[in-house]
Symmetry: C2
Subunit: 208 residues, 2 copies
DNA sequence: AATCAGGTGTGAATTTATTAACAAATATAG
DNA sequence: CTATATTTGTTAATAAATTCACACCTGATT
């Protein structure tokens, strides 16, 4: 299938999250406008996104939740499964390793890395922690394709370079500096300060 | 001034982050294309964003870093200062409280809330932790306009409702469920699973 | 002091994202 | 069975975001 726009991918991920919680609540069908309301968007937007999946619902009853989750999975998930590793098991890294573990059946956090001898060699929230010097080795051996960066900003560039050399395919960077990675690696960056400042800005504007 | 588009606000926040680190490195001037490279965007995008600030550089030497930081601050920051509170001092909340504290002179995390008696009444990473039952009181007293939500998802809706009643003006939601807030409150949501799944999707696509 | 090289600011064009509008489909009620 | 009320899928229209193209500015060079 064609590569979907990033925005659509984000929304599909969010739809799935909501759909999963619908299932838990025993809801079997959902209308596009209900899904839309859950995400503060329009029903047309939802339908358009689903259209890109090539999926059609049975009319009039809404979308069958279980089927739709499956359908989103076919598009978003890799059939062989994908492995991720967290680099930098500090406050954020530890929280993330815990949070992301087992969140999806075929997307797993299977390893982590740090330089702190107190952490290396231990299991943290169920994830084994290796020394960064083993980056190449572990990533190859465990077929890890995604790196999640939560190291201190001073080490960020250096660690990103090391990661780049391992043959990793994607990096999710939570470090507050913007990275440069070789061609062929997908880079996603997120800075919480930016989110906070954005809220602050619009709060300020609301009050004017 | 006109309200800027959210996208521009995000980039301005990121430019400032980079500019601050330029200053630390003793760099006094920066060209639009350098700033652009740091953020994987085009120089025109940078110039257009700065144009919206109404700011012009001295030609040919690039933008004066210090002046530009100041100028971005004039737009993004509130002159009276803004206070924020973290609700839910677990793994993520604690990490965030620490990370966000003192990051900007006039945007401070001044309080936090939890229900765990072991945490209530203590200082966590320098931030006093109150019981959620004191939400109304503390938010009013300390003039807190921004709430950062990091409670378990089961409590999210309930806590958001409580927050809504306090007269808070903005909510930054890290909970993995999408919230509904009353008119007049600015809501920003971020889900790390979405970011990870996005990376996973594009990694998968790269390999096809 | 005239020319050049390299940046900047911005209107116009383009691309991308969202919304409107509506035909087609089908459960339900009568 | 037919009419009605709803919801979907999709094309066309609109809006938002980004990039192009280029005039203009200024410090350096000859
Ligand atoms: N704490 C947060 O809530 C938060 C939020 C957003 C972004 N961040 C960013 O995440 C990063 C980490 O933040 P934190 O609060 O977890 O910091 P932290 O100091 O708690 O954790 C950093 C960890 O990285 C390890 N480390 C240091 N150098 C390393 C290296 N070269 N290779 C591997 N591991 C190394 C340290 O031993 C430590 O365990 C920072 O860049 C910060 O900007 C943090
Ligand atoms: N841990 C992560 O890295 C991470 C990442 C992204 C999103 N999240 C989201 O953040 C939230 C918290 O995650 P966590 O890992 O920090 O969980 P956690 O269990 O470590 O922390 C939750 C905290 O909230 C407190 N709490 C519970 N009910 C409360 C209430 N009604 N009012 C105030 N406080 C209450 C608990 O006592 C606890 O301290 C979850 O919704 C999760 O989806 C977590």
């Amino acid at each position: 299938m064609e590569t979907l726009p990033g925005k659509t991918v984000e929304r599909l991920s969010q739809y799935r999250r909501s759909l999963l919680s619908c299932l838990e609540n025993g809801r079997d069908y959902i209308f596009s406008h209900d899904l839309a309301n859950l995400h503060h968007i329009t029903a047309v937007q939802v339908r358009r996104d689903l259209m890109l999946l090539g999926y059609s619902s049975v009319y009039r009853k809404g979308y069958p939740v279980r089927k739709l989750i499956e359908e989103i999975g076919k598009t978003l998930d890799s059939s062989e499964g994908q492995n991720a590793a967290v680099v930098g098991m500090g406050n954020l890294g530890t929280a993330l390793a815990h949070y992301l573990s087992g969140i999806r059946p075929n997307l797993n956090v299977v390893a982590s890395f740090d330089i702190n001898p107190a952490k290396v060699g231990t299991l943290i929230n169920g994830v084994p922690c290796h020394h960064v010097t083993a980056l190449q080795k572990v990533i190859k051996e465990q077929n890890i394709s995604i790196g999640i960066m939560t190291v201190p900003q001073d080490s960020a560039i250096e660690v990103a370079d090391e990661l780049g050399k391992t043959g990793i395919k994607g990096i999710l960077n939570f470090t507050n500096i913007s990275l440069n990675v070789p061609e062929g690696i997908y880079l996603e960056e997120y800075d919480m300060i930016t989110s906070l400042e954005k809220v602050a800005y619009f709060v300020k504007k609301l009050g004017e």
